[in-house]
Amino acid sequence: MTPHRNRPVFFHLLQLQLPITALVSIAHRLSGILLFLALAPAIWLLERSLADAAGFTYAQKLLQNWPFHLLCTLLLWALVHHLLAGLRLLLIDVEIGIERSAARRSAWWVSMAGLLAFCLGVLWP
């Protein structure tokens, strides 16, 4: 029984029009992987900042270094997006904002908040 053997397959990612909810979902996963990769360096830096006064100033100085600052800003985006997208899913779990229009609206808010956090991070002195 193979009724669907000859169904058309269209999976050209660049021509596929993904809805905002799908993009938020993909970014949720991506930001999660980014945060996971950042765990070890973050623990290392936390350990250094706690070890002695020199380590604390080292961590402070590191933030003024622009490539590192940019990396932290990217991680800030990842954190904000991941947190808000996760909160959105928790609400959808309890059937809040589950209708398509509400889900699309909340997805817009989540992505906008993430991008706003990124802009604020870039402008941070």
């Binding site: 999660g32 992987i33 996971f36 623990i43 706690l50 947190l83 928790l90």
Partner: protein, 111 residues
């Protein structure tokens, strides 16, 4: 059946840890906005506080549980070759364990 149960348990752990992580992150963000830490002594004193030690210990547990479930899901979704999948899952376990030992040492060091 047992697969379904373990999937449900992971899903539940992911949600429970997520709730704690959201609460802690928001609380910490507000706290540091009002009490910025500017020197090492204050930073060290904050971590030596018992409430902080307990809160941070729970944070690290929630973080590692959450990271484990999330990366496990990514591996299960994209890696189809059984042996490679098993190897990556074992690697993930080992890595989480390394981070856990590291965090326990860190917490004991600042207490």
């Amino acid at each position: 059946m047992s697969h379904q149960v373990s999937g449900l348990r992971a899903w539940m752990l992911q949600r429970l840890s997520a709730i704690y992580l959201v609460g802690y992150t928001l609380w910490a963000a507000v706290w540091f906005m009002f009490h910025p830490v500017t020197d090492h002594a204050a930073w060290r004193a904050l971590w030596a506080h018992p409430a902080m030690a307990i809160g941070a210990a729970l944070l690290f547990i929630a973080l590692l549980v959450h990271a484990w479930v999330g990366i496990r899901d990514v591996i299960l979704d994209y890696v189809r070759v059984p042996l490679l999948r098993l190897a990556l899952l074992a690697l993930l376990w080992g890595w989480i364990l390394v981070l856990a030992v590291w965090l326990v040492r860190l917490l004991i060091g600042v207490m």
